[in-house]
């Protein structure tokens, strides 16, 4: 187990390094001059030249790369090309909002999706099963931003129950900010729940056919012991393996969700950087996102190792 842990941790390092390199290279393929793109076509030659110098764009590529990696290692994400503000500070301010949303959506999707998947597998071909499958397919097909709009239309515009935009004051009034969390969590949570339900159902259906489940039933064990002690215990593995993947795709969907709800967060920062052509901010935000996903995958691997006795006792 310790060896598995250490290998996984060490393997994450080259992945991170490669991810940082790809972000660096992609940003450098920008056709034209990023300084001109940031300042607009009518900027004076002097202003463009000053920005190029300040951003280190005049240095040779290897020097830029070394600077970039050095800064990342020191935790310095640079300054915005547009407003000159520190990017690290901006990210530090909005990151708790994104983490709050991601965590609550993953919890919502898993805690509701797994039981629903088990239930629909047990009641195969019943009305509940049919409804569950329709729900899953709808959840797989609806874009996050459209679900967000439908929820805003129903719960904010029509019913007036919940605020439509903003993220509340997470730092000053954490309890009050929960009101702002409900609709974004529903948006991402329902989409995640659809995938979780679908996979739990199909894994459970496979496991329920196994010999040891039949044996457990034949031994006269109660239905619940068979389901939780035998079937679900091995069905957990593929579910956990994919949880990481879904969390990663949820992080992608959170960009749109934050955008629709005008909720402070990494996603809103990212879209702002893209629309303003702020390439230095874009580069840093991409680095944070990729690091986020690498960490999520690492956590998945570790949970997996903890749950799978073959790895745990090896």
């Amino acid at each position: 187990m310790t060896r598995y842990l250490i290998t996984r941790l060490l393997l994450a390092i080259p992945t991170l390094l490669a991810v940082f390199t790809i972000v660096f290279l992609v940003i450098r393929i920008v056709p034209g001059d990023p300084a001109v793109a940031a300042l607009g076509d009518y900027a004076s030659q002097d202003a463009v030249e000053a920005l190029r110098e300040r951003m280190g764009l005049n240095d040779p590529l290897p020097v830029q790369y070394a600077d970039y990696l050095g800064n990342l290692l020191r935790g310095d994400l640079g300054t915005s090309m547009i407003n000159g503000k520190s990017i690290s500070e901006q990210i530090a301010y909005v990151l708790p909002y994104t983490l709050q949303l991601t965590a609550s959506a993953v919890l919502f999707g898993t805690l509701l999706g797994v039981p629903l998947g088990v239930l629909t597998a047990l009641k195969r071909n019943s009305a509940a099963d049919y409804l569950g499958r329709v729900f899953s397919l709808a959840g797989l097909s609806i874009p996050a931003f459209y679900l967000a709009i439908l929820l805003i239309f129903t719960f904010s515009v029509r019913l007036g129950w919940l605020p439509a935009i903003g993220g509340g004051d997470l730092y000053g009034d954490p309890i009050g900010s929960l009101r702002y969390l409900v609709l974004p969590t529903l948006t991402l949570g329902l989409i995640m729940m659809a995938s979780v339900t679908r996979l739990t159902r199909s894994t459970m259906l496979n496991v329920l056919r196994e010999d040891y489940v039949r044996t457990a039933k034949a031994k006269g064990l109660s239905k619940w012991v068979v389901i939780f002690g035998h079937a679900l215990r091995s069905a957990w593995l593929p579910i956990v393996a994919l949880l990481g993947l879904w969390t990663a795709s949820l992080i992608g969907d959170s960009v749109l969700t934050e955008f629709v709800f005008s909720r402070p967060g990494l996603g809103k920062l990212l879209i702002g950087a893209i629309l303003q052509r702020d390439y230095s901010a874009l580069q840093s935000i991409m680095v944070i996102y990729a690091a986020f996903v690498v960490v999520v995958n690492l956590l998945t691997d570790l949970t997996y190792g903890f749950l799978d006795p073959r790895i745990k006792h090896n």
């Binding site: 992945t15 490669a18 991810v19 790809i22 972000v23 992609v26 940003i27 393929i29 920008v30 056709p31 397919l137 709808a138 797989l140 097909s141 609806i142 874009p143 996050a144 931003f145 459209y146 709009i149 439908l150 805003i152 239309f153 515009v157 990663a248 795709s249 992080i251 992608g252 969907d253 960009v255 749109l256 955008f259 629709v260 990212l270 879209i271 893209i274 629309l275 052509r277 874009l282 991409m286 996102y289 990729a290 996903v293 690498v294 995958n297």
Partner: protein, 307 residues
């Protein structure tokens, strides 16, 4: 004569592989619904106007299925709610929302199909190379794929589009690049399995050239999986295209695209909800259609392996 007829009827009908697959597909109701929906949507996109006839006659196309020209502005009829005249109401310029939704299917389908073709071609080529070569090439390709997979797909698409700039062609490239790593993984895994089969070994022992083995023995056997995932990834591509258009990175106006329509309409959500609700239903149904079709195709493929 009569005798002969009954004996032939008594014999079990011998079905080809293709017939059996088709029968499984037809009996799978969700798949059939998906197929019909996809066909209807494709027909809507093709016959939104009479561009086929118009091109031959050398004139501008006129609307065929769409009741109005999607770009004709009628400022006296701005923001009209749905009525008999305008089934889905009118937008801020007085344009007919229903007609714009019909024309908007073109952008979605084009991006969906061409992005998947692009990602599929790149991904299949690299995946075959990685799976069959089993050398440092395999290692290099698969490590690069791992790194690309570290980005959430939507964020990958956003980054590429931010770098390339907006437009239909760039949207296709961005989503194609976003999908390629998934295809590489799929094809790589499938190739690893197929290359161990005896018939591949036999072909190699007979001295069949590597490109011929790839073309005649390996490619046909993994095409099923690629087509299934292709259908599901068309659904993903259409959803991503709508999302990117919604952010404001889509095709430039006035070309109608569903995501852009929702973007323009969402600020009128309280007064004119039809502007954003109806295009969203179009996205949902189209994505659903390709998901159903992909699911059904997968069932057919699975049943084939049971035979």
């Amino acid at each position: 004569m009569q005798q002969a007829a009954t004996t032939t009827a008594d014999l079990p009908k011998i079905r080809t592989h293709r017939e059996r697959a088709w029968n499984t597909f037809i009996r799978n109701r969700t798949a059939l619904v998906g197929l019909v929906m996809v066909i209807v949507i494709v027909l809507i996109a093709i016959f939104a106007d009479d561009w086929i006839v118009a091109t031959i006659q050398g004139r501008e196309p006129v609307p065929l299925l769409a009741p109005y020209d999607p770009n004709i502005q009628d400022t006296r009829n701005r923001l009209q709610p749905p009525s008999a005249e305008h089934w889905m109401g009118t937008d801020t310029y007085g344009r007919d929302v229903f007609s714009r939704i019909i024309y908007g299917s073109r952008v979605s389908l084009m991006v969906g199909i061409f992005a998947v073709l692009m990602g599929g071609l790149i991904g299949t080529a690299l995946g075959l190379m990685a799976g069959y070569s089993r050398s440092s090439i395999e290692n290099t390709i698969m490590r690069i794929v791992d790194v690309f997979m570290a980005f959430p797909s939507l964020i990958m698409g956003l980054m590429v589009l931010a770098v390339l700039g907006s437009g239909l062609d760039k949207m296709i490239i961005a989503i194609g690049i976003m999908l390629a790593p998934g295809f590489v993984r799929l094809v790589h895994g499938a190739t690893l399995g197929i290359r161990e089969n005896d018939y591949v070994l036999a072909a190699r022992a007979l001295g069949v050239s590597q490109s011929r083995i790839l073309r005649l023995h390996i490619l046909p056997n993994l095409s099923g999986e690629v087509v299934v995932m292709g259908s599901i990834w068309i659904a993903v591509a259409i959803r991503v295209e709508a999302s990117l258009s919604f952010i404001g990175l889509g095709v430039s106006p006035p070309t109608p695209a569903w995501g852009t329509m929702i973007r323009d309409g969402v600020q009128y959500l309280t007064t004119a909800p039809w502007l954003s609700i109806f295009p969203g239903i179009a996205i949902l149904l189209t994505v659903l259609a390709f998901n159903l079709l992909g699911d059904g195709l997968r069932d057919v493929l699975d049943s084939k392996s049971y035979d």
